[in-house]
């Protein structure tokens, strides 16, 4: 209980939050627009009805009471049209109408606003406890148990885009401030005369965690419900920061004063020293660090202050004498001398990630509230008194008086101005500038009310000694995490509506075709593309500075997000039996090295592999490599694996389930269909249905080496086709066989392709798993179709990612061939002779004297069914389309 309170930021904190998180509601499932579905005019805001609702005359929109800071209950509008996919049956969703009366309060002004991660019903399964989490109380059951239908937050996750958190903060979150400070006390704060490596180490402790690291943390959090700083230690961003930090300390080491100032600035967050810290300007003004070039003030701003920052979105504070723009010989790299300018980069929207946009209704109605300021004011003071936008990052942090006076420049994107933009027709066309305040939807804050029963999930503070019981936990900022949606949730929850889908599962007539976007042209740069997506929009925000920002969107999504988009676009047909969240693969210990791969365009997957020298025995963590067969693994290291058991039952179907093709080097000698569940490939001379005796395959130009190998095969190998569609291989020879398959590549982790598995005599291995291969094939083909549609100028949920991709990348995705996926339908086995990198004389299996390829029918059939579906349900490519893709199908 106490844990929970701490986690959710309950009372008694006196220390202001040191970092801030997402705007509440920006990335939650968020209330969705559209009144009653029967209206049929969801996109057109109906002010009258809205007002009727306020007067209690009718029920067109959801009313939601949320306690505000002043301990009052005020009705706040929420709009929810989309019944949750997995709607809780106990809730009556009356066209999204919900009325809620929380009997609670947010205790003090310092308590940051919290919001649940999403507002739709979710079924969570954590630690074996199944929770159904509906968003609101049912108005009909007000007299019932008020807890009925309360939405508990998902595990608290960081908003990966808006969280400015240092490694120190993370430790504090994890261990509690006293513990951390205790530990830190033992380390004396280095001064300028300390050894440089010590200074670097110290400074690095205060670096800002980057988005990729937060994603890692979130992913880990989702799975383990814990925080781990170790997770981010190997991050590539951290590596870069480390180098940048080293470089700076080196540059300053002769100027002890500057170095000391730097330490002071970093430690005090810019308060203790307010002057400039300068380094010499380079010729092109940029700094080369670790193979990357960047502007010095941006590099160091990102290091210690902002998790995201670009040159065009920053301006220097007035008192900075050597700001980058001043073009003096020295450049100031004091991170606290540069601010992020709202208007060019919107907090929470700076990448105008469409997923985060509030729906049009909400934008429209927000100012029509009885008290338009009430909830907003808790988040953003009126422009006149509001601190500069940088406070969005470092809010309650006491600021030095030299704060930049940029208030005027960002004053325009207030909620009150939203109604001036009623003509926005499609979420795609929304300029991010208008949303920034509106995203602070207070509704999700609900579940954090004190009266609410504690969420069932564990909180962050579990490990921390200080977080166990006291209410005055100083780290109340913990509850910020509740503002932060699970990156895998929000797009799912609001995705379809945001993309204009009438239903979550468009029935092949999805609106993509009706709302073509501007197909990207090679000559068009990203900025102009965005312009074309926002017809007539520029004028709606009068004070809008010209949009000239560099594109900052994440250029990839996770596989889960991608699959969700696929479900939206292509329906559920190919996803049957799969849970929505496959669960990101996260490294759970130092035993794994986490590799990031991008097998399909715009999607990043994590492939853990074993660290050299580490051993896993008997019990495999579920995120270990070979997760599909982890229960059969006895021992796993980076270079060997031991399986036991036979796996599932062998199929007793007497059907042809595969074909084995026999090769000697490049020459195809023969082939045979596999018909029995257990199928042998041996060196003998038996003609039988359940074996392929290679001795019976003559080759008049056989090479000497092949003779030897064939003679050695004798009992050969056995493929077992199991009832679940998987194929296991047992080596019955005394010599090894060398196996490669798409499935094993996937399972073994790491980035290396066509990895070779050397299977010793008597050993067995699963060489093909239908479910895994199915997913890979499906994802690849759907991604191909998605990219094709994008290139055809249609809307896809991936557009915002594709816009960041080069034409070449998209073209490659759109021209992906099924041949390139054949490896996921095949198993290749070389007898006795290894191949690949470890065998220089045989770089590929085509150099092996005796090898076979097993083609598995169900995998090809599945691939075929997807191809057919795509052919039948989507506009086929014309000759011109092919030409654009670089495929010449003309008859010349």
């Amino acid at each position: 209980m106490g844990d929970h309170h701490n986690l959710t930021g309950l009372p008694g904190t006196s220390i202001p939050p040191q970092f801030n998180y997402s705007q509440p509601g920006t990335s939650t499932g968020g209330p969705l627009y559209g009144g009653k579905p029967s209206h049929g005019l969801e996109d057109i805001p109906d002010v009258e009805e809205y007002e009727r609702n306020l007067l209690g005359a009718g029920a067109g929109f959801n009313l939601l009471n949320v306690g505000n800071m002043a301990n009052e209950f005020k009705p706040i509008i929420t709009l929810d049209t989309k019944p949750p996919r997995d709607a809780n049956k106990s809730l009556a969703f009356n066209g999204g109408l919900k009325l809620i009366t929380p009997k609670t309060e947010v205790p003090d002004e310092h308590t940051p606003m919290m919001s649940p991660v999403n507002t739709t019903t979710k079924i969570l399964q954590r630690s074996g406890i199944k929770m159904e989490i509906p968003p609101y109380l049912d108005p009909d059951s007000q007299d019932d148990d008020p807890e009925d239908g309360v939405n508990y937050p998902d595990p608290d996750l960081f908003d990966t885009k808006n969280t400015n958190m240092t490694e120190y903060d993370l430790d504090v979150l994890k261990l509690g401030k006293p513990a951390v400070d205790e530990a830190r006390k033992k380390i004396e704060v280095p001064d300028a005369s300390a050894p440089p490596n010590k200074i670097v180490e110290y400074l690095m402790y205060y670096r800002t965690l980057k988005e990729s690291e937060l994603i890692q943390l979130n992913a880990y959090r989702t799975k383990r419900n814990r925080l781990s700083l170790n997770l981010v230690k190997n991050n590539i961003d951290r590596e870069f920061d480390q180098k940048a930090c080293e470089s700076l300390v080196k540059k300053l080491k002769d100027k002890k004063n500057d170095l000391q100032n730097l330490i002071d600035v970093v430690l005090s967050k810019g308060t203790k020293y307010t002057g400039c810290i300068t380094i010499p300007r380079t010729l092109d003004g940029r700094l080369q660090v670790h193979g990357r070039k960047g502007f010095p003030h941006v590099v160091y701003g990102k290091l210690w202050r902002f998790n995201e920052m670009t040159k065009n979105e920053t301006r220097h504070v007035d008192h900075c004498k050597h700001a980058f723009e001043m073009k003096s010989d020295m450049v100031c790299v004091n991170p606290y001398h540069y601010e992020i300018v709202i208007g060019t980069m919107i907090v929470g929207q700076r990448d105008h990630d469409n997923r985060d946009m509030p729906p049009p209704h909400q934008r429209y109605h927000t100012p029509g509230r009885q008290d338009p300021v009430d909830d907003m004011s808790r988040f953003i003071p009126p422009a006149s008194i509001r601190p500069p936008p940088m406070n969005m990052h470092t809010r309650p942090q006491p600021m030095p008086q030299q704060l930049p006076s940029v208030g005027a420049t960002f004053a325009h994107p207030l909620p009150h101005q939203a109604p001036h933009n009623p003509g926005v027709s499609h979420p795609y066309s929304i300029a991010p500038q208008t949303h920034y305040p509106l995203n602070m939807n207070p509704i999700p804050q609900m579940p954090q009310m004190p009266q609410m029963p504690p969420p069932l999930h564990q909180g962050y503070g579990m490990n921390g000694p200080s977080c166990s019981s006291e209410n005055n936990n100083p780290f109340h900022q913990n509850h910020h995490y509740n503002d932060i949606s699970h990156p895998n949730h929000y797009s799912y929850d609001c995705g379809p509506n945001l993309y204009g889908f009438p239903t979550p599962y468009p029935d092949f007539h999805h609106p993509f075709n009706q709302q073509p976007h501007q197909p990207p042209q090679l000559s068009q740069n990203h900025t102009s593309q965005q312009g074309s997506h926002q017809p007539g929009h520029q004028g709606q925000v009068p004070n809008d500075p010209p949009i000239s920002r560099p594109v900052l969107q994440p250029s990839t999504v996770t596989l889960d997000v991608f699959r969700r988009y696929c479900r939206q676009t292509f329906g559920n047909r190919f996803f049957e039996g799969e849970s929505e969240q496959s669960g990101a693969i996260i490294r759970s210990s130092n035993k794994f090295i986490e590799e990031f791969d991008s097998p399909i365009c715009g999607v990043t997957v994590v492939r853990p592999r074993m660290t050299d020298g580490e051993v896993l025995e008997n019990i495999m963590p579920e995120d270990a490599p070979y997760h599909d067969i982890c229960k059969f693994i006895l021992r796993l290291t980076s270079e060997s694996v031991t399986f036991s058991g036979e796996g599932p039952e062998v199929s007793d179907l007497n059907e042809k389930w595969g074909t084995i093709v026999y090769y000697e080097k490049n020459l195809q000698i023969g082939e045979k269909k596999c018909s029995r569940g257990n199928f042998h490939v041996d060196g003998g001379f038996i003609c039988s249905e359940n074996r392929y005796s290679l001795g019976l395959e003559p080759n008049p130009i056989r090479e000497p080496v092949a003779f030897k190998v064939r003679k050695a095969i004798v009992d050969g190998i056995r493929f077992s086709y199991k009832k679940d569609g998987s194929v296991w291989l047992q080596n019955r020879m005394k010599y090894p066989v060398f196996v490669t398959s798409g499935y094993l590549d996937e399972q073994s982790g790491g980035l290396k392709k066509d990895k070779v598995h050397k299977v010793y005599g008597c050993a067995s291995i699963k060489t093909f798993g239908f479910n895994v291969s199915k997913q890979i094939i499906r994802d690849a083909l759907l991604s191909k179709q998605m990219a094709t549609m994008y290139l055809q100028g249609k809307l896809t949920p991936m557009n915002y990612i594709y816009e960041k991709k080069t034409q070449e990348e998209l073209r490659r995705e759109a021209t992906r061939t099924t041949d390139s996926l054949a490896k996921y339908c095949c198993v290749r086995v070389s007898f006795c002779k290894g191949f690949g990198e470890a065998y220089p004389e045989r770089p590929s299996i085509h150099d092996c004297p005796v090898w076979i390829e097993l083609k598995i029918n169900i995998a090809y059939d599945f691939m075929d069914s997807i191809c057919q579906y795509i052919t039948n349900c989507f506009e086929p490519l014309g000759m011109e389309d092919f030409a654009k893709l670089g495929i010449n199908v003309s008859d010349d």
Binding site: F685, I765, E813, S820, G834
Partner: protein, 331 residues
């Protein structure tokens, strides 16, 4: 290199010095003449000299002579690995990842899959007796095998030059796909009525039906007639050259007992027996020492017949002679 030795080094140590290989072609290479090839084929140590004991039954006809029939690997243009992406028939390995992502530390290229030591090599389940063909016929033009193998299930079959489709008692050569070799095409158009194979009571009779000359190389027959193994019979549709018994199960049994006999003779008999189930038939063009075409792979149009009954018999011999002590002790 170490891997290599591990893979294969023990093969030769354990199994003795095996010079004689698989079927016909495997008899073909003489290790003494191609030491460089041997070395190049794999970097492990080969026996310096492969001993080919002279045939016991036919001391005057050493096996070595017969070996010349089979092609040397360097005589032909073995398809080489193409580096041209467009010509690669195996797109499988060409799918390098789109990303140029580099692993954080070098990854192992080979993952070893080790046995636990407790594996049981369970015996194969018994399946209901299936109908097996008594022979399989492969059609070749020069070195290239073309078309699907023909499996003979009825006792009497013909192999002819008809253009119709093959059925269960007829294999028509002209309906096989053709290599783009005009000479082969011409020859196989002359095959006409072809030959007939009749397999009954363990005896295989070959009858020439075509007007063209047919050449038959049958190591088993040669062995029983005390001829060199590579001897080629010339048959034609005329007189007593028309029909010939080319296999007899009874005689084969005798060979089998030899192959399972005492160690000194075993290997030779084993190797010899391996090819006793194979028969090669050439249409029109002769081959061998007295012809310009020395080897069967010089022939424009020829077939290879594998008799399954002797092959099955040999299989048992083969497995007995290749027992696997390591695995056997565990299972």
């Amino acid at each position: 290199m170490s891997n290599e030795q591990e893979d294969f080094g023990s093969l030769f140590n354990n199994q003795g010095e095996l010079g004689i290989m698989d079927d016909f072609a495997e008899f073909g290479f003489q290790t003494t003449t191609t030491p460089t090839n041997w070395a190049a084929a794999g970097n492990y140590m080969y026996p310096d000299q492969v001993h080919l004991p002279a045939s016991i039954n036919n001391p005057n006809m050493p096996i070595n002579d017969w070996l010349e029939d089979a092609p040397m690997p360097d005589c032909y243009n073995v398809p080489s690995t193409s580096t041209d992406e467009n010509n690669d028939p195996f797109p499988f390995s060409n799918i390098s990842s789109q990303s140029s992502l580099k692993p954080k530390t070098p990854e192992k290229a080979v993952v070893e899959v080790r046995p636990t030591g407790n594996e049981m090599l369970d015996p194969e389940p018994k399946y209901p007796k299936e109908e097996k063909p008594w022979c399989t016929i492969f059609y070749y033009e020069l070195t290239v095998r073309l078309g699907k193998a023909f499996e003979a299930k009825v006792p009497t079959i013909t192999i002819d030059g008809a253009t119709g489709a093959s059925d269960e008692c007829r294999m028509s050569l002209t309906s096989q796909p053709s290599s783009r070799n005009s000479k082969s095409s011409q020859i196989r158009n002359t095959v006409g009525a072809g030959i007939q194979l009749a397999y009954e009571n363990g005896e295989l009779w070959l009858t020439v039906l075509t007007d063209q000359i047919v050449f038959v190389q049958c190591p088993f027959l040669n062995q029983t007639l005390n001829k060199p193994l590579k001897y080629v019979f010339r048959l034609q549709n005329k007189g007593d050259q028309k029909r010939m018994k080319i296999f007899d199960k009874e005689q084969f049994e005798q060979e089998k007992t030899l192959a399972l006999g005492p160690l000194t003779e075993k290997e030779v008999a084993d190797e010899r027996m391996r090819i006793f189930s194979n028969i090669r038939v050439s249409f029109c063009k002769g081959f061998g020492e007295t012809y310009s075409r020395l080897k069967v792979v010089n022939l424009p149009c020829w077939i290879e017949i594998i008799l399954h009954e002797p092959a099955d018999e040999y299989d048992t011999v083969f497995r007995i002679n290749n027992e696997r002590p390591e695995i056997g002790s565990r299972s």
